[in-house]
């Protein structure tokens, strides 16, 4: 019972997250402006991190935790750099 | 002592980080974690950040509770807007809030709170004027937001940091 429940809830959750990523990708691909794309990327990062966490549960292993941790801690660096580039035309002044 | 522990709070937080990372509270990890936390704090000291002073630790927990509740509420509110409205975001708009708080750390925490709460986003803080530019998704009544932010968050934050 619990196995069935967990398996299907996780599969479903991953599909939902996958759909969420598709939504983010829509912004990523269509824009229209650079900030929209960057926002899409940031969302994609968060969604991907959650996907990794669900994946960790699904596999019953904590080996994937660090991947999620790294996304959560450092994923923003790329988007910050992009945002700063938009604002200042330069990442490091 | 202050040369060893320039930022005791930070050091403690880093030790906690270490122990959480390693999922262990064994003496060995505590020793190693302490050493590393002190080293990391020294690293931080090199950047010469402004030293935050936390005056009322109790307020920290109150604030945390309030924010948590607000976040859940806003989540539901924003979720409803996204799902239900025919054309969501029609009520969105910018607003300016004058702030009394000057502490950069306090402002930083405020920015996190505001931005983390769905429905509001921190746009710009004009240090010269002490005004904060916000974007709000459901801007029906500006005063509600001013009350929330100044009353619920800024006051507590000023208690903590100033």
């Amino acid at each position: 019972m619990s196995e069935f429940l967990l398996t299907w809830s996780l599969v479903l959750a991953q599909i939902l997250l996958g759909l969420a990523m598709c939504c983010a990708t829509f912004r990523l691909v269509t824009g229209p402006r650079a900030q929209d794309r960057i926002l899409g990327l940031d969302t994609l990062y968060v969604n991907a991190m959650l996907m990794v966490v669900t994946f960790g549960i699904r596999s019953g292993s904590s080996l994937y935790f660090e991947a999620a941790l790294v996304i959560s801690l450092l994923g923003f660096v790329a988007t910050v750099a992009l945002a700063k580039f938009l604002m200042r035309g330069e990442v490091i002044e | 002592m202050s040369w060893l522990l320039p930022y005791p709070l930070l050091t403690a937080a880093l030790l906690a980080l270490w122990l959480l990372l390693n999922q262990s509270v064994s003496p060995g990890q505590i020793i190693l974690g302490s050493v590393l936390a002190i080293l990391a704090a020294w690293m931080m000291a090199a950047l010469r950040p402004q030293k935050p002073r936390i005056r009322r630790p109790v307020a920290v927990f109150r604030l945390a509770g309030i924010v948590l509740v607000d976040i859940v509420r806003s989540n539901l509110a924003v979720g409803t807007i996204i799902l239900s409205a025919r054309k969501p975001g029609l009520n969105a708009g910018f607003m300016t809030i004058p702030l009394d708080m000057k502490s950069p750390q306090g402002l930083a925490v405020l920015s996190i709170i505001i931005t983390s709460t769905p429905g509001t986003i921190w746009l710009n803080y004009d240090a010269a004027k002490g005004t904060l530019l916000l974007h709000v998704l459901d801007l029906v009544d500006e005063t509600v937001w001013i009350r929330t932010i100044k009353g619920r968050y800024e006051r507590l934050l000023m208690e903590i940091f100033e």
């Binding site: 229209p32 402006r33 650079a34 801690l73 | 983390s116």
Partner: protein, 137 residues
């Protein structure tokens, strides 16, 4: 997939609830990216996933592993803390950059900077845009 056979049903139900709930909230937030009409409105959308979506899924995870390993597993807190610290940074910087760009283009939909009205409008502002993106629709 190594899901334990003897995992207690109550915990399974809770985990399933957390995980499904979290991902549903995240999906709603991401849906906002599609549905909301302006960039500034859209910036609110991902916070759903980054706050409650993340929180519930992490709760599910913590619960799952705590039950599985019969010890408290709470290192998910770290992810929550980091996301809470970092997502606002991105959003603030990005939204402010967008504001600057909209102001520079003289967009009427954003509040003008105090002195911006007096600053001469750049005639070539349209060109500036063409570098990185299409004109706003």
């Amino acid at each position: 997939m190594t899901l334990a056979h003897d995992f207690p049903v109550w915990a399974a139900i809770l985990v399933a609830f957390f995980v499904l709930g979290g991902s549903a909230i995240t999906l709603v937030g991401s849906l906002g990216l599609l549905r909301l009409g302006t960039f500034y409105a859209r910036t609110h959308a991902p916070t759903l996933g980054a706050t409650m979506g993340m929180g519930t899924i992490l709760c599910g995870s913590a619960l799952y592993f705590s039950v599985l390993e019969t010890r408290p597993v709470v290192h998910e807190v770290l992810i929550a803390v980091f996301i809470t610290l970092t997502t606002p940074v991105t959003l603030m910087l990005l939204a402010r950059a967008a504001l600057y760009r909209d102001r520079a283009e003289g967009s009427p939909d954003v509040p003008a900077a105090e002195r911006m009205e007096e600053a001469p409008q750049r005639p070539e502002s349209a060109e500036n845009r063409s570098e990185h993106e299409e004109p706003a629709r």
